[in-house]
């Protein structure tokens, strides 16, 4: 997770560079905000908002007068494998979208009820999500599922406009990705339950290095099935109070999308899509779409324990199932200061013409000052102007080519 004191406001931040606009418009938003406050503060606010807003949103979404039920919903939604794994890999923009989903669902339900000017609530709730393409799509899906068919066209119109900052610049590129990424970034089994039960337990991210050790708990597949069963029973009870089945259907869709690459015949289909259909690269690392399952799971589970006297035990169980998320993953997440050299190089480059190239060309670095952890190269977000980067990715030594091939060849020639 890379934040810098003051991120440069360049064409790439708006998706107008040579590379596929992946971090758009979030780079522009962060660049603008860090002109006023330090990136360090922005990062802390974002991380606090992710945990706080996701829990509070899920709690408020449950129609109940029992605080304990709301606590269970909050814990189930904000303390799970999805949050842990995406936090550890550094996908904070995706988690910002995840945190917005309960609020989007509330706004969608208000639209369904025909509340006056409910669309303004939907716009406001969607704003944190639309800073990234996956977040924007997650929010749009949630809004469609909650607002109902009669309001679908309004929701789609709002979604298309709010997501324009990333899909409009995408039109400048061919939008095709390397099909090798399908297998490299497919869902992964974290225990004997395999990828299916790992994903249904909201985990299953492709990268084994960011998976909390507790996900190897041999009891987890059984507990996952029991918790999902309880959540379905809870949704049945909840369906008498609010329209939850479209949200549950969306959750099933999310799980299916997350698992496509590990289902029989899934890989060739996805490879063909990604190779020939612009934008289908969004289906790469498809485990991210299981975020849609988290919300119906959390509110369903909360309502399932509504009649129990010791309902808070469920919250304790959920916390106990993932103890290694606590205290920033017990040392996995900690703030690191840039050495003074970085500021010195930045000073030297200010007002110099041309782009910056950092060798060896690699999107990832390991520095002594960050305990040699693999991290995203901070140079494009630290140094002024535009920094040439190689956007190819290596997964276990296997290279997944980036989309900016012309630029990579140019940089290699230098």
């Amino acid at each position: 997770m890379v934040f810098t004191p003051e991120q440069p406001l360049n064409a790439a931040a708006f998706g107008l560079g040579d590379a596929l606009p992946r971090a758009v418009p979030v780079d522009a938003v962060v660049a603008l905000v860090t002109q006023v406050v330090s990136g360090q503060l922005v990062q802390k606010l974002v991380l606090f908002a992710i945990v706080f807003a996701s829990g509070l949103g899920a709690a408020l979404l449950v129609p109940t007068d029992k605080t304990g039920v709301r606590v269970v919903a909050a814990v189930a939604y904000s303390w799970n494998a999805y949050v842990a794994e995406r936090l550890f890999i550094g996908h904070w923009t995706l988690l910002l979208g995840y945190a917005a989903l309960p609020w989007v669902a509330k706004a969608g339900l208000k639209m369904r009820d025909g509340a006056p000017r409910a669309w303004t609530g939907l716009v406001l709730a969607s704003l944190p999500a639309v800073v990234s393409a996956p977040g924007g799509i997650l929010a749009l899906g949630t809004a469609l599922a909650t607002a109902g068919r009669r309001k679908a066209w309004q929701v789609v119109a709002i979604g298309v406009v709010l997501n324009a900052p990333w899909w409009v610049p995408s039109l400048l590129h061919n939008g095709l990705s390397d099909p090798a990424g399908v297998e490299a970034f497919s869902a992964r089994g974290e225990n004997w339950g395999g990828p299916v039960l790992s994903v249904l337990g909201l985990g299953g991210i492709w990268n084994a290095e960011v998976v909390p050790a507790s996900r190897a708990n041999p009891m987890l597949p059984v507990i996952t099935v029991l918790l999902l069963g309880a959540a379905v029973l809870g949704l049945r009870a909840l369906s008498k109070r609010m329209p939850v089945w479209p949200l549950a259907g969306l959750g099933v869709l999310g799980a299916v999308l997350a698992l496509v690459a590990v289902l029989p015949g899934g890989v060739p289909v996805l490879e063909a899509l990604i190779e020939h259909v612009p934008g289908a690269g969004l289906l790469r690392d498809s485990q991210k779409w299981v975020a849609w399952l988290a919300l119906p799971f959390a509110i369903g589970l909360a309502v399932a324990v509504e009649r129990l006297r010791a309902r808070l035990l469920m919250a304790v169980l959920l916390l106990g199932l993932l103890p290694d998320l606590a205290w920033g993953g017990f040392g996995r997440l900690e703030p690191v200061d840039y050495p003074p050299d970085w500021a010195a190089v930045r000073e030297k480059l200010v007002d110099r013409p041309g782009d910056v190239a950092v060798f060896p060309l690699s999107a990832f670095r390991r520095f002594e000052w960050n305990d040699r952890r693999t991290q995203l190269d901070p140079a494009p977000r630290y140094l002024p102007g535009t920094t040439v980067v190689d956007d190819s990715l290596s997964v276990g030594g296997r290279i997944v080519a980036g989309e900016d091939r012309g630029r990579r060849g140019c940089a290699a020639a230098i």
């Binding site: 990268n207 909390p212 808070l312 103890p323 017990f330 060896p360 690699s362 693999t374 276990g396």
Partner: protein, 55 residues
């Protein structure tokens, strides 16, 4: 009785979280790997392209 059992459950949960967490830290803390490498006097060969992650 309900309150007592709730408190017991909270304490037990916290103890479980702390215990498992401590084990996790001891085994998997990123610094630990670096320390071990330094103790063994090993210097890792730097690949040209670093892994984003591994499966």
């Amino acid at each position: 009785m309900g309150l007592v059992s709730f408190l017991v459950a909270v304490v037990a949960g916290a103890a479980l979280a702390g215990g498992v967490g401590a084990v996790v830290v001891a085994q998997n803390h990123p610094d630990k790997v670096v320390e071990q490498r330094q103790e063994q006097g090993q210097k890792a060969a730097e690949p040209e392209v670093l892994d984003y992650g591994s499966r």
